[in-house]
Symmetry: C2
Subunit: 310 residues, 2 copies
């Protein structure tokens, strides 16, 4: 199968308690495609400026990612994001967001990108997400991310986009905000009533939960003693999740989605070990397989029968 992702391609400046980088490759489509590249052919769609050069393309090409739908806006500058994480890495402040070439981005997909079996709409304006989805009528599984900003200023458009996809992947706080339902099971049921068959609630350091018509599934985040930079964790999760579905031979049912949750969790855990894309650039398939085994081991228990007293 093949996989297309539309989203941001960026330079990030990040400070965490464990270091800082003033300019590194980032963006949702980048983090997503690096993670997904371990599973299947990935095409990345998004705009860049003149400052996006050979070293940045090389990071993507080294992982076999197809960049022919990266749109160069001559005279423009690449999207820039700057943030600072607190001692508690769950908290961060955005210091600066320069949309730059992203401000007038209109996604144009090539024939190859339109022919994708799976499509991921990373966090961009929901009208744009819908335009992309409409260009890929043959995709058999479409998933999307979003953020609190769009829930606040483009709620109706966001709901319209959600109606057109198979799977919504959101932070659990955003699912609650979107639906007004503080109970996760109720919030996911509401979103599924709009159209999607699957809802994934990202819960940061606590992991992620999957809710479909066939039931519930949840995994903790992989425990790490040293997290250097959480930026891109959610997109790496989505990349592992969608990548494993693209590589999956058969129906995308609840069982396939459970395995996808495990790969998503695994890829996200590598991404946060170092700054930006640093860890992903030298990640190997063997490391992924070993950590997936570890993840299974640390979440599995034998329901050893205990004689219960009524």
């Amino acid at each position: 199968m093949s996989l297309t992702v539309v989203g941001s391609i960026a330079f990030d400046a990040v400070t965490t308690p464990y270091g800082e980088r003033s300019r590194m490759l980032g963006g949702s489509a980048v983090h997503f495609s690096l993670a997904a590249s371990f599973f299947d052919a990935v095409r990345v769609v998004g705009p860049v400026g003149d400052d996006f050069g050979a070293p940045e393309y090389a990071v993507l090409h080294d992982r076999g990612i197809d960049t022919s739908d990266i749109e160069l806006v001559a005279g423009g500058k690449t999207f820039f994001w700057s943030g600072r994480y607190h001692e508690d890495l769950n908290r961060r402040d955005t210091l600066r967001t320069d949309l730059n070439v992203f401000e007038h981005f209109e996604p144009k997909l090539s024939e190859d990108s339109r022919a994708a079996d799976l499509l991921f709409l990373a966090n961009i304006q929901p009208d744009l997400q819908r335009q992309v989805a409409e260009q890929c009528p043959g995709a058999r599984f479409v998933a999307m991310d979003s953020m609190n900003l769009w829930i606040e200023i483009a709620h109706d458009s966001l709901v319209e986009t959600i109606q057109a996809v198979d799977c919504v992947i959101l932070n659990d706080a955003e699912l609650r905000q979107l639906t007004g339902k503080p109970n996760l099971v109720q919030a996911a049921r509401e979103v599924r009533s709009w159209g999607p068959t699957a809802v994934v609630a990202k819960q940061g350091e606590y992991g992620a939960a999957l809710l479909t018509g066939e039931g519930f599934f949840a995994l903790p985040a992989f425990p790490l003693e040293h997290v250097q930079d959480p930026t891109g964790a959610g997109d790496s999760f989505a990349g592992g999740f969608m990548g494993s579905l693209a590589a999956h031979d058969g129906e995308i049912d609840h069982d396939a989605l459970r395995v996808a949750m495990a790969y998503g969790t695994t890829l996200a855990s590598f991404n946060v070990e170092e700054f930006g894309t640093e860890r992903m650039q030298r990640l190997t398939a063997d490391e992924i397989a070993a950590r997936l085994d570890d993840l299974q081991r640390i979440t599995r228990f034998d329901a050893a029968p205990v004689a219960l007293r009524d």
Copy 2:
């Protein structure tokens, strides 16, 4: 084996978005012992006042709980707690705490209670917890809870108590506060360096994590569409956890603790379905066994090998 718990016995007044109760049986030792009673003989130690009558004793006796170490303080009133939960049930405000007979409580354990194989020190002043532990030198596994108040006003005493137990069961925010380490793996390692072999981080609606020298284990909370009253969830967790260890035939190792985590999660999930002890009073062994199976199902994935691309 046998199991002794020392903690509060209370009347609670609770308001949640789903109803209210102006006076119901509560307290950490009560929630704990009801959950643990499904596994083994339980003895409960704690003070009550003249207002604690036959209906309250009946709730405990109906589950076979030994109340002979409940100390009646003549002329006194039972501990009273009142709280109000927000629409988001993870947030609550304490409206009133009347220590009453708890103010001058000095735990005195009978021979039978001292002979317990397992001992749980529910959240009370850490000096008192240590006095209790010293009365049970033969206990083969001692676990404890605590709270932010003691971390703030009795830190050194709390650490001294922790040094004397096998297992610490705390909210994850409290583990971070106690150690000053925002990373859970680091925080648990620090606590284990003081003496305990096991640390359990309670994560509310996200579940719980276990950290021992043998590794990490985590489970999500059981997903519930309707939670009426979260009061006592942590103590019910501890009751299921310790109960299953008491009923466990063999060494209390990482594998036994994993199963204990599953029973803790299961018992906590029933407790929150209704107000106070209402659900636990009519809970059955069959319901527990069925939910444990469900919990296993919703956390298990098959590591279906996907061909990864290096």
